[in-house]
Symmetry: C2
Subunit: 297 residues, 2 copies
Amino acid sequence: MAQLEAQDLAQAVVDRMADCADPRFKQVMTSLVKHAHAFVQDVQLTPQEWMTAIQFLTATGKMCDEKRQEFILLSDTLGISMLVVAIEQAKGAAAHKARSGVDSPTEATVQGPFYWEGAPELELGADIGAGNSGEPCYYHGRVTDLAGKPLARCAVDVWSGDGEGFYDMQKGEDAGMALRARFYTDADGNYRFWSIKPSFYPVPADGPVGGMLHRMGRHPNRPGHMHMMLSAPGHERLTTHIFVSDSPYIDSDAVFGVRNSLIVDFDAHPAGKAPDGRTLDTPFHSAKYDFRLVASA
Amino acid sequence: MAQLEAQDLAQAVVDRMADCADPRFKQVMTSLVKHAHAFVQDVQLTPQEWMTAIQFLTATGKMCDEKRQEFILLSDTLGISMLVVAIEQAKGAAAHKARSGVDSPTEATVQGPFYWEGAPELELGADIGAGNSGEPCYYHGRVTDLAGKPLARCAVDVWSGDGEGFYDMQKGEDAGMALRARFYTDADGNYRFWSIKPSFYPVPADGPVGGMLHRMGRHPNRPGHMHMMLSAPGHERLTTHIFVSDSPYIDSDAVFGVRNSLIVDFDAHPAGKAPDGRTLDTPFHSAKYDFRLVASA
């Protein structure tokens, strides 16, 4: 047979897909193989380094369970998750602009590893922060389409860590849900709820990805943010955060998720009457953010 | 902050390594990040495809245990293992040629996932094939340095599947070692042992990598081969195979490991007297291969 030399190996792998019945899969794998081989050639990867990589990937897989997704964390910390989000958003925005001439949907960001399916559906205005550490914060705003038409009955999933930056999923096997809920916008597209002002926090750094970050000389912190996922009938689902403008690490998010348009000033208020009529005996914050969703194609 | 757009994300990840204390790690990760982002951009990877990749990698990690290394299998089937071997061999050969003007070490190939530490040390001429399926085969040859000087007491680790292509490690949790041993060359650098003529076989295809191969339209088979790993004092360890020249799949090894110089004719013999004086009552084969090792740098 024709002997394969190092520089021919990538093409040989690609050629082996002659009988691949899925053109998109073939396209993706062709690009993956070429880039992976180019990387190995570029750095002249040694057998010892290759084995380190095998062991890293294996440990990363072993770390994954129902509440921990170390491969998502790896993708997040290498900026790949945000890249996928940005590409998808650009496609949606471009498609919309082609249809309407308008180009202003709310920006998306990473989902992160702490979304937990099945959070309680609560009435607008409910307080999901009570009983958790952190200063109270009132969140409110409106959900519209790109023309400004209010979207009623839009599902608004919200989740965050507590005032120390810990999510419910990080609090041991038996810990239940906390600081997460689903709300539905009212007839005018408004949403409102109480939670806490989220703290910055480190991504889980006790696994292989934490070791990688340490060796890269990087901190593992994310600036404070409230996760929000919006789903309205006839519109594309939006997964995003609102970021706390005065949070540490707002300029160096460990997962590269910050978008300027998602940075929000959290207003500080003394104890007393809140915007929704409630009276608080401690200082509190408020954060207002309006969302604009893209109609489904 | 300066907002990161999709095309800036890779550089932002690289810039975050400003405090990395390990120049080689920084070099490797910089290349990895740039190639990974270029791949995602190239194919405009969708969120659904990204999630499929996350699930694939997670399942690949979960499949790994003491006797199964699915990430090595992934690397093997994408030609990456062989690329790393080829790069390493080229470095060793180039270094040797620079010193001696000679360039003819025995070629290396992939180790594969079936090496099992601690195989029994046996006397030269022992039969490790008896009791296993497959036609008997007598293996013999000489180990020398590149100048042709015999290397005595060179450890020769050998392992293979049986006549149906199954390795001991694939035969259930309680199965012990079979068809593997360590021999040492005699004072003239000679080795000899009996085993079976190895069959072609499929790499383990019941896991995520098997699913990938199926979707790529590829067969999972390797041509028949005897694994051999040689370690002589003062010389670089050589991990290689000898391939059965008339085996199916010799032109389409699923892990791209075949080298022309490693293809060996297995001579067929009728029942009767063997080269080592033993008398067989069944037909048998013989395979002769001489190895040339590179002196340590």
